[in-house]
Point group: C2
């Protein structure tokens, strides 16, 4: 402790790019110009700053090239229809390769640190260590005369705690700040998930999605936490001692959220059954939000509420209330900002200038994230619900140009962010200095992850199936289980905290689980879909046509609208021996009209009856919201009909008039509805005003460059004709196959 | 020096947002989780980290709201056709207001620093101060038992030199890193400038543009440097002593580049004469590049080459060679990367997947910047020429979707970056701690800036007018002088270095010049255009039609193609009393057919003769390049005809075949040319293959949301018909007014 230590640590090149990532974005301008009185030290500092900048640029460049390479290879794979490896898997593999190269080839740059103490007699009056240290350093002047000014003062800013003073390996400069994930990478991904959500199918399956996401994730987290804690007792001493129940619970929370990316890309390519798609997407979008809040609550429990680390009721309750209040307040802020943007775009004519409009849209969406973070809520959750509201309301008010532009921009951002994070998962396996391999823990983690997923899917499906007659079939359950890939959120949560051995082991296990599930499960999804006889090649469109045809189109605005009977075209693919779930239904569940998987056709009428009964029993909440949405929210926030003048009681007429635009009053009744792909929050709100054609896609993942609204120009009779025509054709097809 | 100093500095709230800006992007995760053994200090640190994060988010939020407000007000102004204040001016004004509020209202947070010295006996073996300091700090345990582990080690990272140890005001945490401008804000602006450049008019006026940009900027820099240095001797002692000639020269270099933004927005709105537009745009795009390299060379001179600070021939020559080598190597890298992207998009079918294609495009463009920075060149310059190449070659290979998308993305990025920087200029006037007001210097700077602009415009115009018969009219010269607004680049260069009083005074002067020129000159541009009788309301289109009609359309591929005679429709606006310069001509200059400004009409035939003579005399270099481009570059890099098979000598056939795509061979001859708005690098390359209609706009600033290629479907006869029709109409108009 007495001897001064000025050790030269090696900053391995594989760690450089992480520095680059942190600092490359905000390059620290170390350039200290001294006019002409440059000293040796100044010149050396200057040279070092230049070198740092170069290295940062170079590392970032390697990474950008890696992404470009990924893009090219993805194209090649798509071009040659390679289905056994998907783009995220590819990004991970490239990341692994580059990480290995970075690790095992390359020189090192020295990184010097020095132990210091306060000048003179230290008086510590504060609880906190100082924000900056000022350090006097003797400087070698170029002109050899050593002046008294040869001492310069340098400033050092607080970085964090050094946990392992003895361990030379720890390299503060190379610790990639995991907050980047939460503040840069995740928000666009999550926002896009919300913005591109196909709300129709999402709300149809709302019950199941909410059950899986909220109950399932929590259940899974606690189960994994418990089992891991039990197993930890069997692990090496150094691990088990540092592994508290809170730690394992945290692990449970972080490993529970599923990542939709790979699996949905496959589903999309194969046009898999839309309800299965909605279940997987909806669940994984929501369980990301649940997991981040849950893990935050667990952290809080450990840090603020619990004194002993053991179970305490009050601390537990406070954490629970944290969980719910943070989740719902974040939701509220996100939704409010989305609605505010809708109001802005509705009551200004900013849509005349698409560039301004798009800029406004982007700025408002980003400010939602910031607002939530500034109020100590969860920005990621807020941004998700902001995205949903933007798609549901604001999107309707945007000009055609802005619709395209915002969709495309967020699609691209999402693509880049996703591939970045998966590449980084690969690279970090080799370069992140705080990995800790422990075979026992990793194996347990793998088993627990599968177990957690199973406990999420099977019992809850069973529960849902008890409550509702049309069941989620066993094959669908298997697929749901199998679709439980882990991804960005798990990794981001795991890398956020790598202080202890236990946490480092968790990071390693999480990385491996992500890599395994993305590459192996993602690759096998295709085969499994086949093997489980999940219907693929389903056209979103036919289902919609189906809806149009079957239920009455002129429902009044009260709740008496007819539920659709969807059994009608139930087995358009039946001849190909696929099971088929009926699309549409106000109820939030899947039904399996076919018990035997192969080739059998269910009775359309029966399916229809099921629906009719269930829609009234089950989806009351959803229907109430749907009506409220149609009557008040949409007229207020968009240019849709009916206007508030019609839906509000007479006494509110002046206000209603104020909130109704001329456009709303003068439009021909369909113009602004038509483009809203997701206006049917509960299937049929659209039919309230007579049939308006729905545009598939909307700001959807597949809708990227396609002209939205292929049927924009169709009149009602056209649609009916077309529907009849297609229905006839299809019944012909099914007849042929029977 | 002996007493320990732990002073609490106040970090004024107006400085907070700058912290937010730096760290908000990459949030430093200070969260140090300690499991359950949390100490007072840990909890306090945690709370402080949370608070910091909240404040950062809040500050950034204020800024995002500011931008959103700007967007809304811009809309309002556009909506009500307010022309006396433009969006950049607006951003500056809002910035000023918010800056003032931040400064004069708000509480303060304490920022603690401590003077430290090496532990034990210091041994300084290195030239450089250590990268990190490790500092032991006694920690208050929550459980009152003071353990020996109650001492924790915290790490501090190197930040920079403290220049004013005595001055309490200096607040390192609040120094906004100016490198952000060079690495985040400027690249998208500059790239977009290159990408959206209307190359046709740019290359037509290449001679004048290059003269103004390279010669003019250098001249202006040296003149301003000299005059300022002279005047500095009359200034207060503390300033004049710290103001070396290099400093004033640096000031000259940074204040010389003009910013096209405001003025071009106005030109765009009014559809001002395209050649004037091209001159202003081209010059300001290039002089940004010249200025950044020039100022770098001046810095290098001071730091590395000169020992005394006085003039040294070798040092000067080395700086000059720096200047040229950095400029041209950057240009080369940018162009090479652009061409590489063109090759990638040509020889892969990545265009089948627009999202991948757009991602590739963005990644390659960004990697150009990184590559240049990694090789110690100037990223900004590289990115400019990359943008030009991307627009000239790659754009042709992109799918329609990617064209739209890339245009729109960069347009939006550009818009946000520009408004951000102008808002920041306003805000920083109040919040940046290193402003230094000195009335004398500021007034001198204003005068010098005007002088520098004058010396750029008038003598060079005179020189150009000597060399070439068709002159740049006096009114155009006045407008060019007046269009010399200063903007982003000047500010970014000024804020990069604020070490000395002199530099701080420069920053203040630059900020004020930018604010003044943007608000006052920008606002007055409209009136001046009127007053100087500059033609407005010129349709890009008519000029093109004019070109089509007049010159022969079936020129062979040799150089014998006919230059256009553009005098034909020379005064379509003549009746409204505007001067008119003839559009088109291979020569890189403007002509002024009308000497008296009002209502006179020039003789079309004379104009035409001028052109015919001059195009052969003047633009040989441009024509050689144009031919080379059409014969080799375009066939190699795009799908254009003629193919390399036709243009390369026979011996190279195998290679030529390899480099020619099937698409190129099988296309119907016009498909891929049509969309290339800028293929006429020297007016008429297009006519080589017969008449292909040109799409105005391309990735142009005004082309944002418009469907590119309104005349895509027109056949040659259509165009000729249309042309004749319009020509007839126009001659009618002119006849009526004569």
């Amino acid at each position: 402790m007495a001897a001064s230590s000025s050790k030269a640590h090696t900053c391995r090149p594989q760690e450089r790019w992480k520095i680059a990532l942190i600092t490359g974005v905000v390059l620290i301008g170390l350039i200290c110009h001294q006019g002409c009185e440059a000293t040796d030290t100044d010149i050396a500092l200057d040279a070092k700053a230049t070198l740092n900048h170069r290295i940062q640029s170079l590392d970032l460049l390697v990474f950008v090239f890696l992404l470009a390479l990924t893009v090219l290879t993805i194209w090649l794979f798509k071009h040659h229809r390679v289905s056994w490896l998907h783009e995220t898997g590819l990004a991970v593999i490239y990341g692994l390769i580059v990480g290995a190269i970075m690790r095992y080839a390359g020189s090192s740059t020295p990184l010097v640190h020095m132990q210091v103490e306060p000048e003179g007699n230290p008086t510590y009056t504060d609880k906190l260590p100082p924000d900056t240290l000022w350090f006097k350093y003797p400087v070698n002047q170029t002109n050899t005369t050593k002046l008294p000014e040869g001492i310069k003062t340098y400033a050092y800013v607080f970085r964090g705690q050094v946990h392992d003073v003895d361990e030379n390996e720890i390299d503060l400069k190379a610790t990639f700040d995991p907050e980047v994930f939460f503040n840069i990478i995740l928000p666009p991904i999550i926002f896009y998930a919300g913005y591109s959500l196909k709300k129709k199918y999402f709300f149809r399956n709302l019950g199941a999605i909410l059950t899986f996401a909220i109950v399932g994730t929590t259940l899974s987290a606690f189960l994994i936490g418990g089992v891991m804690y039990g197993c930890a007792k069997l692990m090496p001493k150094y691990l088990s001692s540092s592994l508290s129940f809170l730690d394992t619970l945290y692990f449970g929370a972080l490993i529970s959220p599923t990542d939709p990316l790979t699996i949905l890309a496959i589903f999309n390519d194969l046009r898999v059954d839309v309800n299965l798609y909605a279940l997987v997407l909806g669940e994984s979008v929501l369980n990301d939000a649940v997991a981040i809040v849950l893990s935050g609550a667990i952290q809080n429990y450990g840090e603020h509420y619990s004194n002993t680390g053991e179970f305490e009721t009050t601390a537990f309750l406070r954490s629970m209330s944290d969980f719910f209040s943070i989740f719902f307040l974040s939701l509220l802020i996100g939704a409010a900002m989305g609605c505010f943007t809708a109001l802005l775009t509705k009551f200004t004519r900013v849509r005349d200038f698409p560039l301004l409009e798009s800029a406004l849209f982007v700025l408002m969406s980003y400010s939602t994230f910031l607002l939530a973070e500034a109020t100590e809520l969860t920005g990621v959750v807020a941004v998700l619900f902001c995205g949903i509201c933007q798609a549901h309301y604001t999107y309707n008010n945007l000009s055609e140009d802005s619709r395209q532009r915002t969709k495309q921009i967020f699609e691209l951002l999402n693509f880049l962010a996703e591939n970045f994070i998966f590449s980084y998962i690969g690279v970090s396996m080799f370069t992140f200095p705080k990995h800790h391999f422990d075979a026992g823990f990793i194996i347990t983690a793998f088993i627990c992850a599968a177990l957690g997923r199973a406990v999420n899917v099977y019992p809850l499906s069973w529960l849902l199936n008890i409550k509702r007659k049309p069941k989620i079939s066993t094959n669908f359950q298997h697929m749901l289980f199998f679709a439980g890939l882990r991804g960005a959120m798990s990794f981001a949560l795991a890398i956020r905290n790598t202080v202890s051995d236990a946490r480092q082991t968790m990071l390693t296990a999480t990385s491996l689980i992500v890599i395994f599930t993305v590459i192996i499960q993602g690759g096998a999804a295709n085969f499994l879909l086949n093997w489980l006889n999940i219907p693929v090649g389903v056209d979103d469109e036919t289902e919609q046509l189906n809806n149009y045809q079957v239920h009455s189109v002129y429902n009044s605005m009260d709740n008496s609208h007819q539920p659709p009977s969807d059994g009608y075209l139930q087995d358009m693919e039946g001849g190909r021996g696929k099971t088929r779930i009926s699309g549409g239904g106000t109820d939030g569940i899947l039904d399996t009209p076919i018990e035997g998987a192969n080739g059998s056709l269910s009775n359309g009428a029966t399916g229809s009856h099921h629906h009719r009964r269930n829609s009234h029993e089950k989806a009351i909440l959803a229907r109430i919201w749907g009506n409220f949405d149609t009557k008040f929210m949409k007229p207020l926030l968009t240019h849709s009909r009916p206007t508030l003048l019609e839906t509000l009681p007479n006494c509110c007429n002046p206000i209603a008039r104020l909130l109704t635009t001329t456009q709303q009053l003068t439009q021909d009744g369909g113009e602004f509805r038509r483009v809203d792909s997701d206006s049917d929050i509960c299937i049929d709100n659209d039919s309230v005003n007579g049939l308006t054609s729905q545009t598939p896609g909307g700001p959807g993942p597949a809708g990227g460059g396609q002209a939205p609204g292929r049927r924009n120009s169709l009149s009602r009779s056209n649609i009916l004709n077309e529907t009849n025509h297609i229905a006839n054709e299809l019944s012909l097809v099914t007849n042929n196959f029977m």
